[in-house]
Amino acid sequence: MVEPRPSAPTGCEGTEVVIEVDGLSMVYSERGAETVALQDANLSVLNGEFVSLIGPSGCGKTTLLRLVADLIQPTSGRLEVAGKSPRQARLDREYGYVFQAPVLYDWRTVLKNVMLPLEIMGVPRDERRLRAARLLERVGLSGFHQQYPWQLSGGMQQRVSIARALAFDPKLLLMDEPFGALDEITREAMNLELLRIWEETRKTVVFVTHSIPEAVFLSGRIVVMTPRPGKIERVVEVDLPYPRDPETRESERFFELATEVREALRGGH
């Protein structure tokens, strides 16, 4: 607790804008029917920030994340990631992506799963082994190098997935409901773990979630989104100080913020 830790919710790591979203829209058209997944979104995410996207299904939070990752292309609007086009950011491997499912490769051991992005990026064998081992240690899976994914629990699998996303040390961590499939107890443990990792690595994190307590507990800022059409309703600043611990969840401010987010969500309807 004596170590200096980022304590301010925003802006303390500098003012470098990592993600710049400007009037971004995404319209899916299938067989003539058009679905507006995201309408006129505006958002800036600063370096080292932990930003959550929250909202009900169909509000465009995953769409926004996928747009940032250049997995899909926007219909209109401007988007910059690390000061580049999303495509260039992807080619430069500026972000690591964590999906709701762990998406581990069955035929690779835990260690090799973490090594996969390094392999693809052409990191020499010894170094990638070293880095993968370090990351597995960081997520608390030191003893599981040679296990196959199916031998791990859901929480452990997701931790491998996080280690893999961090393996090549990207500037940005995009997480799409990474703990959505986990039970409440595991999820809270994972939340603490994620916060610890975030504080150690100081990545910029964009975190998509359904869960109000999770968003409040983790984030510096919460982007509240509403569906049909998906748009950003408002941004809630979370002024709970870091580092946060389980007691944070019981503080009065926590409940006030949760209520604020809840009301913002309701306001969209």
Binding site: A69, L71, R90, G96, F99, Y105, D106, W107, L116
Partner: protein
């Protein structure tokens, strides 16, 4: 307990074999056995003939005459006439009753060589041929044909139960001059011409040339050779009372052969005719008067004996019916007697014999018993090639079948299994590689898949049995046969294997979670990285599943290929050969062997899978 667990599968298999094998064998075998029992054609035929005395001494010196074997109802017969003496009596009594000697000596045969004699022609005709004797010993005739047919080149022949000289056509060959022995086979020094008769004397003598009266002896006669024109004989007497009214008599041994040309029935000294005469006219349905050769006898219409005076009456050689017999009815006149019931051996005479007359039979045949034995069980056991043999029959055949040919002979079963295994493995390898390449091409180039997949499917609808001859013919033009190369088997097997491999591998290559593809995209992976690191490993379990399916099919393909006519290698040839020669137990051994081979090969693929895809859940 762990030991028990290991043995358990074997016990289960054994229990299944016993619980299924024996009832099935019984269910399938008993009807055949029953048919064997009831089918008279499959019964053993035995000949009843009048017996000559086993020893001629008493005929000359007046001791008791013995016959063997002793028939039940019997009568002594001399020169075709029954003697009024109880059989098995002393020769003097018989001679007295006959009022003449019991042996009529014939001409002394002319000695040509030690072994060849010339008899008067009449000596060899009919029953008289029994009465050749050396000193007082009656000689037996017997000859045995060769098991092999002479083809103009063959020198070695085998004979059953014959020990005397060899006869080629009407030439007599002696051991040492003309033939030698080698391991129970007769080796002739000169090949008999194609189609000639090769025989061997089986008893004391054989008739070499009946027309010239030439007889060959098995060994030089110990005493001067003689021929008796007539000898007292023991014949069977028919059962039934000769009281002047009874017409029904019975033969002792039943069931009697119905159409027996050799049957010779006598009433006292005169032979009786048993064959039916046909009418001179057609049975038209309108005609009522028919002419026969004989003027009297039994009139039989469709197997029914008609009654004179009610159904018809005789008028000379004409039979006049009261009512015309039906068109095409079977009308016969039996002048002397009719075998009314072959089953019970009943004979109906046309006229009742005079009181005291003796009805006897010199020769007839009857069915002694089913060839397999008198009981169903014996017949079942005797079924030589039973479609579902008892498991222990199969087990008993294993060792002899495996060692039928030496290991270095390609017809050896172990060697055949080896050939088939190699062929199947080659097919797996070839089919696997072709299948994987095709799958990769299909996944990389979708339009090509759309163009080629229907043909791949079509290739599998061609029955392999039709493809094999064509392929073998084509390969044969290049001098490649199953006999000399693994390639044909491998090609045919591969043709079967590649299909499941293509389908499975394509599915495997496409089995990637879309998120996993997104992930690779987020890593900015190149297409080749995506293929090598993600698609291909993901396809490996699918590939092995397909290979397992393919293995079983490839084995069948190899077996079918090996049934090709010019081939003598592999289990396919073995199965075909044993099926064709009807060795059912051996076929079963081969079926089981093929099954075990299939299990083994699939297990081998499973082992490879464990090595190459260790991540799969146990």
């Amino acid at each position: 307990m762990p030991a028990f667990r290991q043995v358990l599968p074997i016990l289960v298999v054994l229990a299944a074999v016993i619980a299924l094998g024996y009832p099935l064998a019984l269910v399938f075998g008993l009807p055949l056995a029953r048919r064997d029992l009831s089918d008279l054609r499959k019964w053993r035929k035995e000949l009843v003939t009048s017996l000559a005395p086993s020893d001629l001494t008493p005929l000359a010196e007046g001791g008791a005459i013995t016959f063997s074997p002793q028939p039940g109802r019997s009568v002594l017969v001399l020169e075709g006439h029954p003697l009024e003496v109880e059989p098995d009596t002393d020769a003097n009594a018989v001679a007295a009753a006959a009022g003449r000697p019991l042996l009529v000596p014939g001409e002394v045969p002319e000695r040509l060589t030690d072994l060849l004699y010339r008899f008067p022609v009449e000596a060899l005709a009919g029953e008289g041929a029994d009465a050749i004797y050396a000193g007082t010993r009656l000689l037996k005739e017997g000859i045995s044909p060769a098991a092999e047919r002479p083809d103009g080149k063959r020198l070695d022949f085998t004979f059953e139960g014959a020990e005397g000289p060899v006869l080629v056509a009407d030439r007599l060959l002696l051991e040492g001059e003309g033939f030698n022995f080698d391991q129970g086979r007769v080796i002739l020094s000169e090949a008999p011409p194609f189609g000639s008769e090769v025989r061997r004397i089986a008893a004391d003598y054989a008739v070499l040339d009946a027309a010239a009266g030439i007889v060959a002896l098995a060994r030089p006669a110990a005493a001067p050779l003689q021929w008796a024109q007539e000898v007292v004989r023991l014949a069977e007497r028919l059962g039934g009372e000769s009281d002047g009214a009874n017409r029904l008599f019975t033969l002792e041994h039943t069931p009697v052969l119905e159409n027996d040309r050799g049957r010779a029935l006598y009433l006292d000294g005169s032979p009786l005719r048993g064959n039916g005469e046909r009418p001179s006219e057609r049975v038209s349905g309108e005609r009522a008067t028919f002419t026969f050769e004989s003027a009297s006898g039994l009139v039989v219409l469709d197997g029914r004996v008609l009654i004179e005076g009610i159904d018809y009456h005789h008028s000379g050689t004409e039979v006049v019916f009261v009512k015309p017999p039906a068109r095409n009815a079977r009308l016969r006149l039996h002048p002397d007697y009719l075998l009314v019931d072959p089953e019970r051996g009943e004979v109906l005479l046309a006229e009742p014999p005079m009181p005291g007359a003796v009805l006897w039979v010199a020769e007839y045949s009857y069915y002694s018993e089913p060839a397999c034995g008198p009981t169903l069980y014996q017949c079942f056991l005797a079924l030589p090639q039973h479609p579902v043999p008892f498991p222990h029959w199969i087990a008993r055949r294993v060792a002899p079948f495996m060692s039928k040919f030496p290991l270095n002979d390609e017809r050896n079963v172990v060697r055949a299994t080896f050939y088939t295994t190699l062929g199947t493995l080659a097919a797996l390898g070839l089919g696997g590689i072709v299948g994987i390449l095709l799958a990769v091409v299909f996944v990389l180039l979708r339009p090509l898949e759309r163009a080629l997949l229907p043909w791949v499917v079509a290739s599998q609808t061609i029955p392999i049995i039709a493809l094999v001859p064509v392929l073998l013919l084509v390969l044969g033009n290049f001098g490649i046969t199953i006999q000399t190369s693994l390639l044909p088997t491998a090609l045919i097997g591969a043709y079967i294997v590649f299909f499941p491999v293509v389908v499975g591998t394509v599915k495997g290559l496409r089995s990637i979670d879309p998120l996993a593809l997104d992930l690779m995209r987020s890593y900015a992976a190149t297409p080749s990285q995506l293929f090598l690191k993600i698609r291909f490993p993901a396809a490996v379990p699918f590939l092995f599943t397909s290979l397992k399916l393919g293995t079983a099919a490839a084995l069948v393909g190899a077996l079918v290929a090996e049934t090709e006519s010019n081939n003598r290698r592999g289990l396919g040839f073995q199965i075909l050969g044993q099926v064709q020669s009807g060795n059912v137990a051996d076929v079963w051994i081969l079926l089981i062997l093929s099954g075990l081979l299939g299990i083994g090969l699939v297990a081998l693929v499973g082992l490879l899978e464990r090595i190459f895809a260790p991540w799969k859940r146990a």
